[in-house]
């Protein structure tokens, strides 16, 4: 029987020289699910997401995107995912439309499909006023909307979002969260990384708490709060679980 998960990570390890950034991590994400990868700075979130995005090779273990082994065929896996980070840059001297067309071409999309997809995204992300402006002239929120459009230009089944709301104001963050929710409704599997635990609590179906490269706990936000002795928030639950681990 084939794996129904859109993303599967099994005993994933990544070492940089003597330092182990990810240490035997396993989790999976189903279609139509938002999985939150949470943890403090240096916990291994970005490294895990970069492995999933085909930017880094795993030292050990397996990561699959839509059934494609990222370590074996990263380019094929990249066709099935959209990758976005809080620091993702855009080509400032190109217009938003040119940027989208460029990345659509790199995804081997035919021109008519690119044009149609740009129209769809213009409506979904409210890009009409900024589509033909140079990216360097856009505000942070506008740039991030273009970045989202860039990441999903090929309409991938998996979205990997690494702290996508960093630096955005309340309205822009909310807009982005609503868009991610809509994508979930369309059956997309979303991996969402953040260290704003309150944001994760609002958005994620399940979360994995990452600490020193390993999974500390995993489950629905309310289950994790219960597991940590009825903590009032996910943040509180995380602190208690880390304290218990250190004490042990």
């Amino acid at each position: 029987m084939s794996d129904p998960s859109a993303v599967t990570v099994e005993r994933l390890k990544k070492r940089f020289g003597q330092r182990t950034a990810v240490d035997g991590l396993s989790f999976s994400v189903a279609p139509g699910e938002i999985y939150g990868l949470l943890g403090p700075n240096g916990a291994g979130k970005t490294t895990t997401l970069r492995i999933l995005a085909g930017l880094l090779r795993p030292t050990e273990g397996v990561a699959r995107i839509d059934g494609v082994d990222v370590g074996l065929d990263p380019r094929q896996a990249q066709r099935h995912l959209g990758f976005l980070t809080g620091t993702t840059g855009l080509y400032g001297r190109l217009t938003a439309r040119e940027v989208l067309a460029y990345f659509g071409t790199l995804q081997d999309m035919p021109r008519p499909r690119i044009a149609a997809r740009i129209d769809q995204l213009t409506a979904a992300l409210d890009l009409r006023a900024i589509l033909d402006r140079r990216c360097e002239a856009l505000s942070s929120g506008q740039k991030q909307r273009i970045s989202v459009a860039r990441a999903v230009i090929h309409d991938p089944p998996v979205l990997i979002l690494d702290e996508p709301t960093v630096g955005l104001d309340v309205l822009a963050s909310r807009f982005l969260r609503e868009y991610i929710g809509a994508e979930r409704a369309r059956g997309k599997a979303v991996i969402f990384s953040t260290h704003y635990l309150a944001e994760a609590e609002l958005l994620c179906d399940r979360v994995g708490l990452l600490y020193q490269g390993a999974l500390l706990a995993e489950g629905r936000p309310r289950d994790l709060r219960a597991q940590a002795g009825d903590a009032t928030s996910l943040e509180e639950a995380f602190l208690r679980l880390v304290t218990d681990l250190v004490a042990a």
Partner: protein
């Protein structure tokens, strides 16, 4: 002014800069190494070229109906030191400009040429006026131009009784305006085109590599399903296209500027642009743009920021610029190895195209090798873009000046590791090897050569024992490793020493023949080396010569090259690559372009011996025997004996040397394997 604030900012900026090893290397080590290397190379090449030019004899035909005057002039021109030989070829007794054009003769000296009036001839015959002499030559041919200059100089100084010149010399160049135009352009256009094509690639290469990284778009791009080779090819073609445009614009603009400039200066058109030939030089712009685009994109891809890319690319630009400059300044022929030297080959081909003297085979070789080098650079860049290092920042944190100094010669260590704690020895690395070479080269160029010029033997002793060996000792102290360990000074098996003896006794013959056949050095260079080994008029004992010129370099240079440098390179590279790199560095350190190839081969050989035997002692033995035999032969005046051998005898001796060498290498290899077991 708040001085504490100024001081705090100053210290912070300095500390931050000094902790960036790459910036430091480029800022300090590169200028100290690259500029001396460039100047050394240019001086050697130009001196060699000048010596060859001066040694060349100008063959001229003398056309003079008067036998007495002819005899006088022949004696004057053939006088020692003029560099002229009046041809005795009777078929050239009535030579014309056509013979000069057909390269049968360098120039024709016509006495009392056709247009001379009878009165002038009569006055000259009575000694009342100088005898008219016309030199027919081709100013666009350097050999012919040199003959014209030499004849003019030889005749201008003849001032007998009447205190006026005996000869009224005039020159008549055969070159047409178009040919002169082509010649003038051939002197400046190739160099300008190559350099500007290079410059055209400079900033676009930085912008699309380091600029992309700095703007944060690299991660976005790399998460797309595009093959890295395709990615880099697209980038290189973009840079090459801009570079190409720069090259083409320069050809057109330079040609028009030269033509118009000459017209304005002379008030009348004195030259014409050979437009088909100028257009033919476009042939080099495409491969040049591809090569420079690839190289600069590859280098730019290594940089973490726009600023760092500029710092990295500037020395590369200078290194690419130098061969072109050397080719542009001297009148080299496009033959042999020069067809494969990037920059030089393009400049020379552009010149030949402009002069209409390009041949098919050299043209194909130059174009193919340039595209080949560009493809290698492109493959390297693509490999780099497939590397995780592109997304990483690796410089370790440093806390103090002493830690920074250690950082310069050591590999980055993780915070909290034993290396940082200062307890454990630091293992060698390729970075240390290159840094050590850089420091040694700077010392050699700025201090040791001066010392040796001051007084050879004491200078050599100080620079070798105090300089090279001393440097290795300081390095060992900084790395907290025993000197014997750094030198790999271990007792080798006796068979390895026997093999080394065979290699040492045969190597000098093979290298000598190779040096003579591959890049035969000018006679002056060979004489200088002979004088160094056995100075004329100086009574240096054989023992002192052997100790200073054989034992000393065998110990000290081996300690530096086969000890610290080779061991460091071996940590990162395979045996062949480590040997090759060490050999090249060894060749460079000898600072002689004519001996570079044989010295590099010797360096490779010595490196292989040291690595295979697992000890530096056999390579020291090879080195001492190689130098020692040459010194002993020179001392007894036998070093030129080989020049008088017949072809058969030379081949026999060379064959015997090759057999000895192979036997020696096989013995060392067997000894090394036994030791390893």
């Amino acid at each position: 002014m708040n001085l504490p604030h100024v001081s705090a900012v100053f210290r912070k900026e300095l500390r931050e800069t000094l902790r960036d090893r790459r910036t430091l290397t480029v800022m300090f080590l590169f200028p100290l190494v690259v500029y001396p290397l460039v100047s050394l190379l240019m001086a050697e090449v130009m001196a060699g070229k000048q010596a060859t030019d001066e040694a060349r004899t100008s063959h001229v035909a003398l056309v003079d109906p008067d036998p007495v005057s002819r005899a006088t002039l022949t004696a004057l021109l053939n006088k020692k030191g003029t560099g002229i030989e009046v041809t005795r070829d009777v078929s050239l007794a009535h030579a014309t400009g056509l013979d000069v054009s057909n390269n049968l003769i360098d120039a024709v000296v016509e006495v009392a040429p056709e247009k001379t009036t009878d009165k002038a001839k009569a006055d000259a015959a009575r000694g009342n006026a100088p005898l008219p002499v016309r030199i027919v030559y081709d100013e666009t041919r350097p050999v012919s131009d040199q003959a014209h200059d030499r004849v003019t100089k030889a005749l201008a100084g003849v001032l007998p009784n009447g205190c006026f010149q005996s000869y009224a010399v005039t020159g008549a160049s055969l070159a047409t305006k178009t040919k002169v135009g082509g010649y003038v352009l051939s002197k400046i256009l190739p160099l300008i085109v190559v350099i500007m094509t290079m410059l055209g690639a400079f900033y676009p290469a930085i912008d699309i590599t380091a600029g992309e990284r700095e703007r944060g778009t690299l991660e976005t791009l790399l998460s797309s399903p595009v093959q890295r080779f395709d990615l880099m090819t697209g980038k290189v073609i973009a840079v090459a296209a801009l570079s190409l445009l720069t090259g083409v614009l320069n050809i057109v603009s330079m040609s028009l500027t030269v033509a118009e400039g000459a017209r304005l200066a002379a008030g009348t058109p004195i030259l014409a642009i050979p437009w088909p030939r100028a257009a033919a030089t476009l042939l080099i712009v495409v491969p040049a743009a591809f090569l420079f685009g690839s190289v600069m994109v590859a280098i730019g891809a290594m940089a973490r920021s726009f600023k760092e890319a500029q710092t990295l690319l500037m020395p590369v630009y200078l290194l690419c610029f130098t061969p072109s400059l050397v080719a542009g300044m001297a009148d080299f022929r496009l033959t042999g190895l020069t067809m494969l030297v990037p920059g030089t080959n393009l400049t020379l081909l552009a010149r030949d195209l402009m002069l209409g003297e390009a041949h098919l085979l050299p043209t194909v070789i130059v174009l193919a090798s340039t595209i080949g080098f560009g493809a290698v650079a492109l493959a390297f860049a693509a490999r780099l873009y497939d590397s995780e290092r592109l997304l990483a920042s690796t410089d370790a944190d440093l806390v103090s000046l002493s830690a920074w100094l250690r950082h310069l010669v050591s590999r980055p260590a993780a915070p909290g590791s034993p290396e940082v704690a200062g307890a454990q020895p630091v293992p060698p690395s390729a970075g240390q090897a290159v840094s050590l070479f850089g420091v040694a080269f700077v010392l050699w160029f700025f201090a040791f050569t001066w010392l040796q010029r001051w007084s050879l033997i004491p200078g050599l002793m100080i620079s070798q024992w105090g300089g090279f060996l001393g440097l290795v000792w300081v390095y060992a102290r900084l790395c907290r490793r025993p000197l014997g360990d750094v030198l790999v000074f271990r007792r080798p098996p006796p068979t390895a020493l026997a093999g080394a003896a065979l290699v040492g006794l045969s190597g000098w013959i093979i290298l000598g023949v190779l040096a003579d056949k591959v890049i035969p050095p000018p006679r002056e260079v060979v004489e200088n080396i002979r004088n160094l080994i056995h100075p004329p008029g100086e009574s240096r004992s054989l023992a002192l010569s052997v100790f200073a010129l054989a034992v000393t370099p065998a110990v000290c240079e081996e300690a530096l090259f086969r000890g610290a440098i080779l061991q460091g390179l071996r940590r990162q590279f395979t045996v062949p690559v480590s040997c090759l790199l060490t050999g090249i560095l060894f060749g460079i350190m000898h600072g002689d372009v004519w001996r570079f190839v044989p010295t590099t081969i010797l360096g490779v050989l010595l490196s292989w011996v040291a690595l295979t035997s697992g000890s530096i002692i056999p390579s020291m033995l090879v080195h001492v025997l190689n130098n020692g035999v040459l010194i002993v032969l020179g001392y007894y005046g036998l070093d030129q004996a080989g020049d008088h051998l017949s072809g058969g005898a030379t081949i026999f001796i060379l064959g015997a040397a090759v057999v000895f060498m192979l036997g020696g290498l096989a013995t060392i290899r067997r000894a090394g394997r036994q030791t390893a077991r």
